[in-house]
């Protein structure tokens, strides 16, 4: 089969945008931007968004959405902080308050989506508010700090020159890339995203899969919550507000189709890195505040439009 422009664009288009932006920035501000330290910073600063974006990628892959990831991040970060502040063992607190709670919140979303047959947009729009409200309630709207020093040192520390959040994000990315590419589960999710009815009639348990994608989403947001709390050494009641839009934008810039069935983890990771890179660049160039949103918006619209044009333009070949 002839591998045309479209073929390569689908696989490497996002990476191309990333490299292009790196080059542009390198020309503008080589001494600061391309320093090893700054490149590591871009990865570190993107780690939380990478984690949530990997999670939200799954609901989008089945033509759904998860708007609650920002709140899941806030709630898991807050609960794990409260558990630690109440003397729980750190690892147990992170497992229960972060990972398991995140997965559980995802399970709630997924179960509701399957049971009500409503679009995930509606369910997660609601659960987003519920989770945020819970976070405010249990924290009394006050930040929780004075966490064990070991916590930040471990989760937000370094292994050699590499920050632990980056290692966590990359590990999660590799695991989920494996899940999507090499497991029946992954194949089933793509089938469900491509054509739910065909997958159902082929004997794929689409109902269970729908729950699973939201569990993945919650799980990743939970891990992001841990990383965020560790980086700050504190849990803020409003932490993660609005982060879902960055995560969704990352998935979309990374080539994930809103109509389902198309996209991959690698693209999503690069998409999240692009957003991190842009934020970093805006700071370094000291771009005026009001301009920043315009730049970010243009990036999202531009990359998706480019994607469309290239995909369509080469269709006839």
């Amino acid at each position: 089969m002839k591998k045309d422009l479209r073929y390569y664009w689908q696989r490497l288009g996002t990476l191309a945008i990333f490299v292009l932006l790196m080059i542009i920035m390198g020309i503008f501000s080589p001494q600061y931007f391309l320093s090893r330290n700054n490149i590591i910073q871009i990865f570190l600063q993107s780690s939380i968004n990478v984690l949530i974006a990997i999670g939200v990628f799954f609901p989008i892959l089945i033509a759904g959405i998860d708007l609650s990831v920002g709140s899941v991040l806030g709630l898991t970060g807050m609960v794990s902080a409260l558990l630690m502040a109440n003397g729980w063992d750190m690892w147990l607190a992170l497992l229960v308050g972060g990972v398991l709670l995140g997965a559980f919140l995802g399970l709630l979303n997924g179960t509701l989506v399957v049971a009500t047959k409503l679009h995930p947009f509606i369910i997660t729009l609601g659960s987003n508010m519920i989770f945020r409200g819970l976070t405010l309630t249990i924290s009394d709207a006050r930040p929780v700090y004075n966490l064990p020093r070991q916590f930040s040192r471990t989760i937000a520390g370094y292994v050699g020159a590499i920050p632990v959040p980056v290692i966590i994000a990359i590990s999660v990315a590799i695991i989920f890339a494996f899940v999507t590419k090499k497991t029946k589960l992954g194949r089933g999710i793509y089938a469900l995203g491509g054509n739910e009815e065909a997958a159902w009639l082929s004997g794929i348990n689409t109902k269970l899969l729908k729950v699973v994608v939201f569990v993945f989403s919650g799980l990743c947001a939970g891990m992001a919550g841990i990383v965020m709390t560790a980086r700050m050494g504190a849990a803020e009641p409003l932490a993660g507000t609005g982060y879902e839009s960055y995560a969704i934008a990352s998935a979309i810039i990374g080539g994930t189709s809103f109509f389902g069935g198309i996209g991959n983890i690698f693209g999503v990771v690069v998409g999240a890195l692009i957003i991190g890179l842009i934020n970093n660049a805006l700071n370094i160039l000291n771009v005026q505040t009001y301009m920043q949103q315009i730049v970010m918006g243009l990036l999202i619209v531009g990359s998706v439009t480019l994607d469309r044009l290239l995909a369509r333009g080469s269709k006839g070949e």
């Binding site: 497991t183 029946k184 589960l185 793509y190 089938a191 054509n195 065909a198 009639l201 004997g203 348990n205």
Partner: protein
Amino acid sequence: MRQPLVEMENVSKTFGATRALDNVSMTIWPGEVHVLLGENGAGKSTLMKILSGVYQPSDGVIRVNGQVVERLNPKTAQEAGIAIIHQELSIINEISIAENIFLGRLPGNRGLFDRKTLEKMSAELLARVGLDMDPAWPAGVLKISQKQLVEIAKALSVGARVIVMDEPTSSLTPEEVEVLFKIINDLRKEGVGIVYISHKLEEIMEIGDRVTVLKDGTLVGSRPMDEEVTPELLVQMMVGSDLSSKYDTEDHSAVEVKSDKPITVKVEGLTRADGRCKDVSFEVREGEIVGFFGLVGSGRTEAMRALVGADPVSKGTVYLKGEAARISNPQAALKNGMGLIPEDRRHEGFCHNFPIWKNLTLPVIAKASKAGGLWGLVNARKERQAAAKVVEQLNVRCASIEQPITQLSGGNQQKVVLGKWLETDLDIFIFDEPTRGIDVGVKASIYDIIKDLARDGKSILVVSSELPELLALCHRLMVFREGTIVAEFPISKATKENVLYAATARINNQGVGVQ
């Protein structure tokens, strides 16, 4: 002398290379109920779309009130007094009955509409169609039969002289049908011409003044509904005398499967939760091909989907190889060796985002995993090998198994949709419209695949609207009508006439309808 309302003379319509209508003529007189009859795909809707200005005829003349109309479009057709009431009603539930009637033509000026006038005019129209409702109410409160009357009122409000009714009784109760017929009679007295499209022969016998029969886009005949017209004659006209087609019944190699073969599927009283099929019972033997015929909406597809657990069932038992089986979803069907190859490829058959090989191995993945495709790793190398084997076996025309399935022709897509079940060791194959939209060459090879499967001892259920296809392929025929099986024919007794008659006319006895 009386003048016809509409004359269509030698109208033809081609779509690309397909000739949908060939030299068809039809004349509609004032005060007559003109029945338009024909099988699915005979050209009825094309003809009506030309009449309402949706399509332009490739050839032929249309005269309205004696005047030749050059270019008819939906607006000029409406102005000429032609109105169509589609099977899917166009009533908007959220706005009032009056607003529905006058939608797009609300009385009043300068953007404000005059509700009083509107409701007064609507009330008059509703009285004409015998609907005793306050026109200010939202249309959502109406029953389907009442909505139909509102559609008629809407047609009258534009001064329609010709009203086309497409399957108007398909969702009405007998009492509602009577009300409708009374209104039709009133309209007839007022000199309105009615084009009445229906498959229900007893209704046609009751209401029709004249009948025009189409078959394969050509005119079979047009005649008054006098004493000589019987349901049998109508069926004969619909089927035509063309019994020597390539799917001739003589041609089929099948004879009845011997009754000593074990029964693999036995269905008793299968009823869907939504009631779209009820009390369906049948059995299929090893190596047997059983055809399920019925008109669109008769419940065949719905019954098959319920059988494999794709849609919820409220009642009924399925026995597989003599044992009662609980099949609540397609995974369970698959585990029990039963698979459905759906009718709508694009929406139910394949995943557009997958290349050929991933589509071909989807059920294998689902079956090999306990939780329905949730557990375990994929083995792409093995999958590709299996896929390549199926592609070769079915002679799927493609560049490679890596090709996106969307790039294949309809026939080859269908081979993939069908082929994905071959690797799963099914005992029972259910084909729903296996050859819809497929060219003749591929059709033949799909028939061969089906026959081979039966020869290997598989049980085959084939749902189709194409009677010749079923007559050529099956050992036995079941006829669906109004959600249930109304007749059963061994292939030796099945003819186009008696099967079609069973599918259209109301008969109660099992089996032989007319001989």
